[in-house]
């Protein structure tokens, strides 16, 4: 891309194309398109409940993992394992939260969140180590670890962390002391959202205004020049970013458990880690833009649920849209690149 504005043009064009494609799918599927789209809108923005208890709440974990994936991709690390890192964080947060329920909140809650972040970074660390030592492609290793994490959750909620009656595969609810406070009475939006926003700003500042962040960007944008002209240790930078990315995803999991679900159960993540890829790519890996795309996809997923309730359109269509976003960005990037040469 020769001028910065062109990257955003690609994103905007991608969105338009996809809206058109989705409408086409709806029409072809014989759905009541206007009813479906109305339901989509209402489900996302149509009422205070929609905004404060659905859209923004769904956007929160997407924000954390979107930042995680965005940071990793910025350094050239293809972290497809945000899903597993999120689950590792959620599990650890639940376990620690159950343990620390009796302590005062200012003490217990931060510890729980930090534990979740640490678990996420450790989970990413396994893949980072495999890449560093054995040259294992991080795409495959992080994917495998996603599956392992899911089974780990399954074992935890049916085993050591299961609620006392041993009937349901989930933990007991967390005590108040380890819950993120809600921001508005009667709505589900919680402090985690603000934490995510703060992290987005911090990450933006880090990448754009600090020397270390500059080095991260250099390694991702031109590893050879970074090494040769800048003397930067590209491999070590990539590893550090990988682990930090895991921490962000783990924090996202901890935030979900302490802010929304208040317990751990199977299926706690309906694929946030994969949606995050679309969130990050559409935002061209820019932390502040990731806030916007996370909100967009949160709206999309809330709307999709409503679309299923009111117009019988399967909600999983959201995944299709996200995949089309990625492909769309790839295609339009190519179109621009070939027009220039």
């Amino acid at each position: 891309m020769r001028r910065p504005g062109e990257r955003w043009a690609v994103s905007a064009a991608t969105l338009l194309v996809i809206v058109a494609a989705v409408s086409a799918i709806l029409i072809a599927g014989g759905y009541d398109t206007s009813r479906a789209l109305t339901a989509l809108w209402n489900g996302a923005f149509g009422s205070p409940y929609a905004v404060l208890s659905a859209t923004l709440v769904r956007a929160t974990p997407l924000l954390f993992v979107g930042l995680a994936v965005g940071l990793a991709f910025r350094a050239g690390v293809l972290n497809i394992g945000a899903e597993g890192q999120l689950l590792a964080g959620a599990t650890t947060a639940a376990a620690v939260g159950l343990f620390l329920g009796g302590f005062p909140r200012p003490l217990a809650l931060p510890v729980v969140l930090i534990a979740g972040a640490a678990a996420g970074s450790a989970w990413a660390g396994v893949a980072a180590w495999l890449k560093q030592q054995f040259g294992v492609l991080e795409v495959i290793s992080t994917l495998m670890l996603n599956f392992v994490a899911a089974y780990m959750v399954s074992w935890a909620v049916r085993g050591p962390l299961q609620e006392p009656t041993h009937v349901y595969p989930q933990t007991v609810e967390l005590a108040d002391a380890v819950r993120l406070p809600a921001l508005f009475a009667g709505h589900r939006l919680h402090l985690g959202f603000l934490l995510g926003l703060a992290l987005a700003v911090a990450l933006w500042w880090f990448l754009m205004h600090t020397a270390a962040g500059f080095r991260v960007r250099a390694v991702g944008a031109g590893a050879s020049a970074a090494r040769s002209a800048g003397g930067i240790n590209a491999a070590r930078t990539a590893t550090l970013v990988f682990v930090a990315s895991g921490a962000l995803a783990g924090l996202g999991g901890a935030s979900e458990v302490t802010g929304v679900t208040f317990s751990l159960y199977e299926g706690i993540s309906p694929g946030y880690g994969y949606s995050a890829i679309a969130v990050a790519l559409l935002a061209r890996l820019h932390p502040l833009a990731i806030v916007a795309t996370a909100l967009l996809f949160g709206a999309l997923e809330s709307g999709a649920s409503a679309m299923q309730r009111d117009a019988n359109v399967p909600s999983v269509i959201a995944t299709v849209i996200e995949a089309l976003v990625v492909l769309g960005v790839l295609a339009l990037d190519h179109a621009r690149a070939s027009r220039e040469s």
Partner: protein, 307 residues
């Protein structure tokens, strides 16, 4: 005891069948120099295609539609990687996401949101005369659905094709040193595109096996990472047809271990066994001297002037 062991072996081969099919497809693709992460997408597409095809025209139609669906999924990867020149990793991941989402969407909209157990006819094991009576191995290898016998044939044919035809030679050249193939008059792009289509068809077939020879129905995400396990099998099998067979069997055995443990009365959480193939994949990728045997140009995009 012998019976249990025999059951165990037979189940291992049955589990290994779809893995081997997908792995052979990936073997051809990687021998041409591409790592196809869209294989998972091809498998789930094939599974869904099998459901649709079988519902319309029986098992044969099911397998046919499965292969076409898998082929279509990987065709998108081919387009994005070879024409748009995008990174193969991102393209493959996107196609897998797309396939998972589309099959889920289509399944719910065509067959209902709750997915009442829609069942299709499945292949039952057919014993091969004489061969089935071989002690120990007979039941395991030769009392299987026909598709497994097709797999044996495929493995042999693939080995023969790769070592005894010029086309197989060309494939290997493209994956080792594309410029050499180009200078010999071969078109690396064409070879890679055809390899991808074959890989997709095999992935689709694997998905078909899941539905038409094992589960008898479709469930969202039922591919469960088998596409990525297949990639690990290719690595573990050192990119050779015989090695792939052995590695696939190993994974089949690993996934059946939980039943052996159960019958021995050892209680170990079942999740451990379900996670075992994935952990094994990680170990396999770390442990094998990947660089030594891999096609030299694997994972490297083609140069502009030698396509």
């Amino acid at each position: 005891m012998a019976d249990t062991f025999g059951d165990f072996l037979q189940a291992s081969v049955r589990t290994a069948t779809p893995l081997a099919l997908a792995a052979y497809g990936e073997l051809v693709v990687e021998r041409a120099g591409i790592i196809n992460l869209g294989l998972e997408g091809a498998i789930i597409a094939g599974a869904f295609g099998a459901l649709v095809g079988a519902g319309a025209g029986g098992i044969g139609a099911g397998f046919a539609v499965a292969m076409i669906a898998g082929c279509a999924a990987t065709a998108v990867v081919a387009l994005v990687v070879l024409w748009l020149r995008a990174d193969a990793i991102i393209a493959g991941t996107a196609v897998t996401m797309l396939a998972l989402g589309l099959t889920g969407t289509l399944y719910r909209s065509l067959y209902g949101a709750q997915g009442a157990a829609l069942s299709v006819p499945t292949l039952s094991p057919q014993a091969l005369p004489l061969l089935a009576d071989v002690p120990w191995l007979g039941r395991a290898l030769f009392v299987q659905p026909v598709i497994t016998y097709a797999l044996y044939g495929l493995a042999a044919a693939l080995w023969w094709w790769m070592t005894r035809t010029h086309a197989g030679l060309a494939l290997r050249a493209v994956g080792e040193r594309p410029v050499a193939a180009f200078a010999a008059g071969i078109s690396p792009v064409r070879v890679q595109a055809l390899a991808l289509l074959f890989g997709g068809a095999m992935g689709g077939l694997a998905g078909g096996v899941l539905v038409l020879a094992q589960v008898g129905t479709f469930a969202e995400g039922m591919s469960s990472g088998r596409g990525f396990i297949a990639i690990a099998i290719v690595v573990l099998g050192r990119w050779s047809p015989l090695g792939v067979a052995a590695a696939a069997l190993l994974f089949g055995v690993a996934s059946q271990l939980q039943y052996v443990f159960q019958s021995l009365g050892w209680s170990v959480p079942y999740q451990l066994f379900l996670a075992l193939p994935y952990v094994l994949t990680l170990l396999a990728l770390a442990g094998t001297q990947r660089r030594a045997e891999a096609p030299a140009a694997l994972g490297k995009p083609l140069d502009d002037d030698t396509r």
